[in-house]
């Protein structure tokens, strides 16, 4: 259980350590603080977007221990002790990740508001299933709404990366 602190009004705050993109941040948050708001407002990871705060749109998707999660549906205190990856953590250097490259090459971005969530959902899929079918890709991003692209090029971008993955069970060259 995280340590409890009280502010001047007597409200409880919890002292938590959040592991985001490999770095640890120590924060005192209220029990009702949403992970999405802590990431955005306190830590400036504004690549995590907010489109609804109801768990409908997926634009707040982050990876928690590799699994895509709507960060507007998670309390910051619940995220302690887990590895959180935001879009800012997908490519650790200036070199883009293959999926990021693929989104650009396949014109899978328009307004870009859904893009961070889409890329994280796609990353999570490709990590545990390097050769998804088109249907599996569509299912994997079905919790991420995009109002611009009709998903056509997003599906294409994810499949293009899958195609480059070494064949399953085969020898790698």
């Amino acid at each position: 259980m995280p340590e409890v602190l009280r502010d001047s009004q007597g409200s409880k705050h919890y002292l938590i350590n959040l592991n985001v993109n490999g770095d640890t941040y120590t924060l005192a948050v209220k029990g009702n603080a949403l992970l999405v708001n802590v990431l955005r407002d306190w830590l400036d990871f504004t690549g995590t977007k907010k489109g609804c705060e109801l768990g409908d749109c997926g634009s707040c998707t982050v990876l928690i221990d590799g699994k895509p999660v709507n960060s507007c549906m998670v309390l910051a205190v619940e995220a302690e002790g887990h590895e959180i990856t935001t879009i800012e953590g997908v490519s650790p250097s200036d070199k883009l990740d293959r999926l990021q490259e693929s989104f650009i090459a396949n014109a899978a971005i328009q307004c870009g508001y859904c893009t961070p969530g889409m890329i994280l959902a796609g990353k999570a899929l490709l990590t545990h299933n390097p050769h998804p079918t088109e249907m599996e890709v569509r299912e994997a991003i079905s919790g991420n709404l995009c109002r611009c692209t009709g998903y056509v090029n997003i599906v294409k971008a994810i499949l293009a990366v899958a195609d480059e993955n070494p064949p399953e069970g085969g020898e790698s060259a």
């Binding site: 708001n37 955005r40 400036d44 990871f45 504004t46 690549g47 995590t48 977007k49 907010k50 489109g51 609804c52 705060e53 109801l54 409908d56 749109c57 634009s59 935001t86 879009i87 800012e88 997908v90 490519s91 883009l96 990021q100 989104f103 650009i104 090459a105 396949n106 014109a107 971005i109 328009q110 307004c111 870009g112 508001y113 859904c114 893009t115 961070p116 890329i119 890709v137 569509r138 299912e139 991003i141 079905s142 919790g143 991420n144 709404l145 995009c146 109002r147 611009c148 692209t149 009709g150 998903y151 056509v152 090029n153 997003i154 599906v155």
Partner: protein
Amino acid sequence: MNDGYNVIGKSVGRIDGKVKVTGQAKYTGDLRFPGMLVGKILTSPYAHARILSIDTSEAEKLPGVKAVITHKDVPSLKYGISPARWDENIFCIEKVLFVGDKIAAVAAVDEETVYKALKLIKVEYEVLPAVLDPLKAMDEDTPWLHAEYPHNINTEIHQDFGNVEKAFAESFHVRTDRFVGQRAYQSPIEPHSAISMWDGDKLTVYSSTQSPHYFQYYIARQFGLPMGNVRVLKTYIGGGFGGKLEPTGLEFAGAALAKITGRPVRMFYDRHEMFAHNRGRHRQYMELKTGVDKDGKILGVYANFLMDGGAYTSLGVASAYYAGALLTIPYDFANYRFDMYRVYTNLPACGAQRGHGHPQPRFAFESHMDNIAHDLRLDPIELRLRNARKPGTITPNEFKVNSCALEAAVEKARAISNWDEKRNNLPKGRGIGIGLGAFVSGAGYPIYRTNLPHAAAIIKVNEDGSSATLYTGAVDIGQGSDTVLCQMAAEAMGYTFEKMTIVSADTEAAPHDFGAYASRQTLMSGAAVKQAGEDVKKQLLELAAPSLGINVAELDCRDEVIYVKKSPEQQRTFAEVAREFFVKKGPLVGKGSYTPPKLGGKFKGAAVGTSPAYSFAAQVTEVAVDPETGEVNVLEAWDVHDCGKVINPALLHAQVHGAFFMGMGESVWEEVLFDENGKILNANLSDYRVPTALDMPQFHSELVDSYEPNAPWGVKEVGEGATTPTMGSIANAIYHASGVRIKSLPISPEKIWRALKEQREE
């Protein structure tokens, strides 16, 4: 293939691709300024009520609250986006007119405090009977929303071209059908937000807007400031689709709160508030009567429409005119009459949504055409080909259509969809349908009366020629205009795309442009950019000519190389000459601006629908309908577009994907629903039912050759036009699959199931 262009016509990656895939792109809601407060608007819980009192004292006492304002604290000048009908106040003064109407606003240190403070504002109301049924809005005993608009008539249109009655009398067959289009909402994934801050009497507003110019104009007017004292700039925008074209109230309230507190204020709508604010597609009742000769040639059309405008005008005057105006574009007929009433109701105001005013009438007309084909035992494509518009023609309402490759588009759609085979041989429960569409490539006239050019551009070449920056007021809301305009700039200059940067949509840093609406930027902003690029090139060539010992006319520049046309090995680099230019003459700057030619007729409303060019599209859709449940599965779709010369094919096809996707949502699922008190029932993305990746069919987007003489490089629009044929094409496929004609949108499983049941019982 070398068509003589080095930069345009190529699918270069988006100029903003990298910042968007890394999460670095800042949208308005991502910005932070020192001391920034959070603001929100308190809205009405009643559809129609008199405000008896507002008590803000408790809210003001809450620790962390910095300001609470009502109508008393802001100008009472009425505003709106349609100057003919300014009917909104920043905050309601006497009455609230819909659930969600604006009453007061709070600025506080954080979101939690703001929400608490809103709850502490006490408003006493006298609830009034609400007008919720647009069909009863004009009745004798229905109360009026606005005293200035008797019988709730916001806009009334009566246009008559040729002689429709005579055409009907001479027709072989006359058919009347009635259709209903639903209230839909743009639902961009990024919610509206605005950050306002003052420095003395100068106001800066960061806004998620499709048009910094209109915001600047309306904010300046509202606060009595010269336009130069208002700077509006957009950051990255998370989609608009028409919903971010007009002021939302956030900008006005935010500006007032920022003035009082002396601090930056960030205002935002949550998802529910976005639905409540709305400004989406109108609910529309559409009666169509058409007379044809025995070959199916259309002789005359009468369109008799009524629109539910909601509580305010918004962009609705234009929506109402567009609804009738653009019906004359895809099919060629001489006699046309259009009657329209746009009525007020105590529901959120409706405005412009992708394809402004046109998609629903298009749905109605395309369904109506299929019914006529059925009556005449003609293939729906055959009937369309017999009536398809040809290039170089004029519509009955005096729109001049230059380029038009509609026939070729229809033929191509027929071929690639394998229509002839499928139309006759699909199994039971499967169907294929066609719809045609068209749209303006920019409006011939701006929203308010002004003689400003429609677009302007400046290009500044870096001192050593190693980069160039395009300054434009055009707005990239996701459609890719920043990329396309940089391609155009580089092409016109003889430069390379990779060395271009852009400053767009900032009323202080970039020259005027009306913004992202009416599918105008590729043509209109593009024309200004082309001119600016050519201006740069001309200056460079003039400087280079003497050094190459040749006449300017014999020089050209491409791909950063200035060369002698007849002996290309005689050359100098762009960068070298640009640097020399700076040394000898100062900054190398090119300028351009664009004003469309005088367009249209002289009758009332003649301006709406005018455009320098029209795009055309044919869409074929294949669906499966489950006879047990009425469930529709959209299986595959083909779009063939006539959009003139293409600047960036990948971005263009992506526009078509998105346009079809939105049209599909409105065809089958999307509708904003209200209870009997005017409260929205489905103000969230899942109940409203924005389609997911599982709903999108296999999709094919193709083009036909076309060149528009009225446009830079022959371009035309695509982003909105591609949404216009979709609802008709899907409706016709559903009819083909199920044998039932559903005349109201969305074509929900329930409607199909009921119609099938009725059919069985007959």
